[in-house]
């Protein structure tokens, strides 16, 4: 489904602000698998998802999706294959357009947009059904501007929009991080439902050890632009939040060791 081959991305290359955000990341996803990505701040999780989505081109490596080499496809072209929900609830919807208009934009993701009427009655009744399934009472507010909705409502709609046309790949970048715990739980329940129902291939970044342990069928941990752990199958099922915290602690210790070693060297030789 998704085949990422040793991709490398360096930002601000050749300047003092050079950041090696991805240092050779490879990952192959089976169709229908749900992979959770965890890692410390700045470890490159978002950069990885953004590279797959095409927000920038990678410096090295290749990305294949649904049998096609998309490495050089611009972001808008890849959207035909990819549905996305962002961390920021403001990113996924157009605030001054109505709920209905936002959904009808999503109903043509990756398709041509001409002078056709955006509001076919069959589409509108389907919208009412799908939106009422969110259990947020939004089905009577289809004509309201999205700007008037709460973050949780927006994220639920964004998820609905991202999966309105079944995407080959669903990208979720900390999509519950900006929400209060209750809205976050609701959104996670929705996510589980839609991923299971449409058998979606999913990449999900999270900082919640609870989500990381309970969701998905595979978990990878990133650190400094690389994948340092990859748990699958029974091993993934056995993982508990505490195990994951222990892995983070390992990383932290190794880091400190690095630092103290560097300090020792510096004291000795400089």
């Amino acid at each position: 489904m998704l085949e990422v081959q040793s991709i490398v991305k360096t930002f601000n290359s050749g300047t003092p602000n050079e950041v090696h955000s991805l240092r050779g990341v490879s990952l192959t996803l089976e169709p229908g698998s749900w992979v959770i990505i965890i890692g410390t701040n700045g470890s490159g999780k978002s950069t990885f998802l953004n590279a797959v989505a095409g927000m920038f081109f990678v410096d090295e490596g290749s990305i294949r999706l649904a049998g096609r080499d998309v490495t050089r496809w611009p972001e808008y072209a890849r959207a035909e294959l990819i549905g996305r929900v962002f961390q920021n609830p403001f990113s996924g919807t157009s605030p001054s357009l109505t709920i209905r208009e936002n959904l009808s934009l999503a109903a043509r993701r990756g398709r041509s947009r001409g002078l056709g009427w955006g509001m076919k009655s069959t589409l509108v009744s389907k919208m009412r059904d799908e939106v009422s399934r969110l259990n947020m009472g939004l089905e009577d507010r289809l004509e309201n501007a999205i700007g008037s909705l709460s973050g949780g409502q927006r994220q639920a709609l964004t998820l609905l929009m991202a999966t309105w046309l079944r995407p080959e790949l669903l990208l979720l970048d900390e999509h519950t991080a900006a929400l209060d715990p209750k809205s976050a739980d609701l959104l996670i329940a929705l996510t589980e439902k839609v991923v299971a129902h449409d058998k979606l291939t999913t990449l999900m970044v999270t900082h919640s050890m609870h989500q990381a342990a309970s969701l998905g069928d595979r978990l990878i941990m990133m650190h400094r632009g690389q994948i340092i752990h990859d748990f699958q199958g029974a091993e993934k099922r056995r993982l508990r939040p505490d195990d994951l915290l222990a892995r983070f602690e390992e990383v932290r210790r190794a880091e400190q060791l690095d630092e103290s070693a560097a300090q020792m060297l510096a004291e000795k030789y400089i």
Partner: protein, 309 residues
């Protein structure tokens, strides 16, 4: 009375400019200065074609097309060559000054003995009244010629405004509105935002140029300097319109822009009547837009302060 009708007529003609400015400034949040040049471009293209015997509707349509090309240039400079939006507009506007001189062959083209949309409207009006040249409206003497031109332009604005409204609700139109609203989202939904901006600025400047062509046909001349300050004029109309309708529903905002244009023209006419020197007009307009731009911030701060107190 004829002064009042003339004020309304120009207000309606410039409402097409306001609609153009609305598309670039409000829908795309793109401060497009090209309009100063493309309004003159519309006027000079239409005037030159009319002088060469082209029919007025066709000449106006050609003006619209020329404006679209100008807007597409600005959009391309910005999206393809990553030039800052203001600078892209300034470059095209500056280039248009020479182009307009070339189109006209001199700095001013009179349209006194030529058939224009205005003279055609007058002829239809006189046909309807069977040659009577004036009638009485609530005690005022109204010239049939003036009234017919006003009716014609009001009809034309209603028609183009409706077309724009319908367009903004098509799949393409919605994608354009979303592009100005949230680029990140529209890319994630598979829309090439660069194409949308080029196309949107093309339509915007098409409207502006159409406005210029109608202005030339109404005034009876095209002049190379007629576009100076027109962006600010259009922006003033849009701002007044927003205050009038106080809603961001697409249809209402379009109606607002038209009403704003007419109202602004009326305000100007009154100010001139009170003895404002025409030389100060642009200064006053700029000051007005300045205040209109800062008032919302001011109100917000005042509200915050009173909330804290």
């Amino acid at each position: 009375m004829s002064l009042l009708i003339g004020t309304f007529t120009i207000g309606f003609i410039l409402s097409l400019l306001a609609l153009g400015v609305f598309i670039s400034f409000r829908i795309f949040a793109f401060p497009d200065i090209t309009a100063d040049g493309s309004i003159t471009l519309g006027a000079s293209v239409a005037a030159t074609l009319l002088v060469h015997g082209v029919s007025p509707p066709l000449a106006s349509l050609a003006a619209f097309g020329a404006g679209m090309v100008a807007g597409a240039c600005t959009g391309t400079l910005h999206t393809r060559f990553k030039i800052n939006s203001l600078l892209s507009g300034i470059l095209v506007m500056t280039a248009l000054y020479s182009i307009n001189l070339h189109v006209m062959g001199r700095s001013n083209v009179p349209l006194l003995s030529v058939t224009t949309l205005a003279t055609q409207a007058e002829r239809i009006g006189l046909g309807v009244t069977r040659g009577v040249t004036s009638f009485n409206l609530a005690g005022w003497d109204v010239s049939v010629r003036d009234a017919s031109v006003l009716c014609a332009i009001a009809f034309a604005v209603a028609l183009t405004g409706t077309l724009l409204y319908l367009f903004l609700r098509t799949n393409l139109g919605m994608a354009m509105r979303a592009t100005g609203d949230n680029v990140q989202m529209i890319r994630a939904l598979g829309v090439n935002d660069a194409t949308m901006i080029v196309f949107g600025l093309a339509i915007s400047n098409g409207f502006v140029a159409l406005s210029g062509s109608l202005l030339a046909q109404y005034q009876g001349f095209a002049d190379v300097g007629m576009g100076i300050g027109m962006v600010v004029w259009g922006l003033a109309s849009v701002i007044i319109g927003e205050a009038l309708v106080g809603s961001n529903q697409v249809g209402l905002t379009l109606v607002g822009a038209v009403m704003g244009s007419v109202l602004f023209r009326l305000m100007v006419a009154v100010a001139l009547r009170w003895g404002l020197s025409p030389n100060d007009l642009k200064l006053i307009t700029a000051v007005f837009v300045f205040f209109a731009l800062i008032t919302p911030q001011f109100l917000r701060k005042a509200r915050l302060r009173s909330a804290h107190a």
